[in-house]
Symmetry: C2
Subunit: 304 residues, 2 copies
């Protein structure tokens, strides 16, 4: 089982408006909602590809109940730990006339010390059946700074490799616990390490404890660094679309590659193809399966 | 007891953003929410002024539960009838840098025939203790076109006068049931009657069955028409601010004046003063009580 963690589970809400009048009032033509948060998107991609996933994290209030209901409807097994705080919503206002969207992200709920302790116990129990853990996204207030590092250490003690997709202090502290893969994007990598050159920055995370660093560089594809070798993987064609979905699909592919024991060129080709297949879908957590199959043989991976 | 009706109860949500970046992503600094819908605002104003109010209407789902919780916290007695559909949210995104807000109004839930029948039974039971009923705002889909007219007729049969603040077909059909007062604004009056001249338009509603028509004309104040006489009531100073709150406060004052049996000049002076006191508050349903007292003697009412 692949254990996906989304500490700050969200309800993704979409408002469709014919033509948004800013600084005025707008009738919403239609609304849609689904379970969100980066870890949730990773779980949905893996579920679509036929993997057995369990999603854990923290969720509370009426919004937490709705997140659980949407996960059940999507067929995803959840082991979200209840909290007193109300889970956040992330709103996308789609402007049909402009053909784009404006996002509004609510702050996450505060997590109490006893709630975090209950989550760690649940995570520890779930590790017994896990083959890989994937840790994604920001932590809500109240989670300790070394929270992700603790989870990676627990996984390591249980012999379960971890894939980490976080930013800032959570990334800097997380690598010290020895994750199998970390996947920052270029901006996150530069911010967390202070190095503008992605190879120098990636090597600094490897030195700090990460077994491998995979850097997502948008339309340029992926850069990967391990203690021994470096690769660049380029997409088959220029990509534009939904970058959130692409990053989460990349993480899903890296988790699968780790599980399968594939070599790095194969893992990276797969991750680029799956990202490309996700960019084509407007909703994060979905992938275009035909495009994925088509792209897989077209990715160019080069050792550098 | 003043019985306020809000058929399309809403949860008013406010997102505060430092400086909104349209067509991009925004972190919400703080969120706030309270029970909304025009009838709810009227009930809150009356409650603030010490009147005993009961709020009824239709509310469903998790959003309906939150509306009930906010009403309880505000000390307002509610007799909202449950529906299967999810109550709507109305979102205001406040742009701190621009000093204004953008509104997004979700569509209302569909109401089933048996739910409407249950509401009519509840309304009928509540009429036994009511001295005035106030009917405000749009009806959700599924409420019959003559829904408001039926409620006014039931109130009339029970000897309870009705104040009606609706637009479109609900206003055109509603007046035929003989409400004591209807309160359209100028645009609603013109749209419902097809007459650009507000006096001709108001007289057409009187002819159709309304005992009195009070027209809110923004900064110009109020125009009132009864079968015998006409008045104009002008505010003490030019007003600008929150027009939703002003209209609902006006309706609250008209209901109180009807209950007290005041003459029209006094009722209109009170309605203009209370509207002015509401315009000064950013949240609909609140009034500046000091301003209300100060304005009351300064309104100019003239028979025309």
């Amino acid at each position: 089982m692949i254990l996906c963690v989304t500490l700050n589970a969200a309800l993704d809400v979409t408002y469709v408006v014919d033509q948004v009048r800013w600084h005025s009032g707008n009738r919403v033509v239609s609304t849609a909602e689904h379970a969100g948060g980066k870890g949730t998107n990773v779980a949905r991609v893996l579920h679509t590809l036929g993997e057995y996933v369990v999603l854990t994290g923290l969720a509370g209030g009426g919004t937490g109940d709705r997140i659980r209901r949407h996960l059940a409807a999507a067929g995803i097994t959840e082991e979200l730990v209840p909290i007193v705080g109300e889970s956040r919503r992330t709103l996308a206002v789609v402007d049909e006339a402009a053909g784009d969207a404006t996002g509004f992200w609510e702050p996450g709920p505060a997590v109490r010390a006893d709630e975090w302790a209950a989550f760690v116990r649940r995570f520890h129990r779930l590790l017994a059946d896990a083959t890989v853990v994937v840790l994604s996204g920001s932590a809500p207030p109240g989670v300790p700074d070394d929270g992700y590092a603790s989870l990676i250490s627990l996984a390591g003690d249980a012999g379960v490799p971890a894939v980490l997709d976080v930013s800032g202090a959570a990334l800097r502290i997380g690598v010290t616990a020895g994750p199998a893969v970390v996947k920052p994007n270029r901006e996150e990598l530069a911010a967390a390490t202070g190095h503008g050159d992605p190879w120098i920055a990636a090597d600094s995370l490897v030195s700090a404890g990460a077994a491998a660093v995979v850097v997502s560089a948008g339309a340029e594809g992926l850069l990967a660094s391990t203690p021994q070798r470096r690769w660049v993987a380029r997409p088959p064609e220029p990509l534009s679309g939904n970058p959130t979905g692409a990053g989460d699909a990349c993480v899903a592919a890296l988790a699968r590659g780790l599980l399968a024991g594939n070599g790095w060129p194969e893992r990276l080709a797969d991750a680029v193809a799956l990202s490309a297949a996700a960019v084509l879908r407007p909703v994060a957590g979905e992938v275009d399966r035909d495009a994925y199959r088509r792209f897989r043989d077209l990715v160019h991976v080069e050792e550098v």
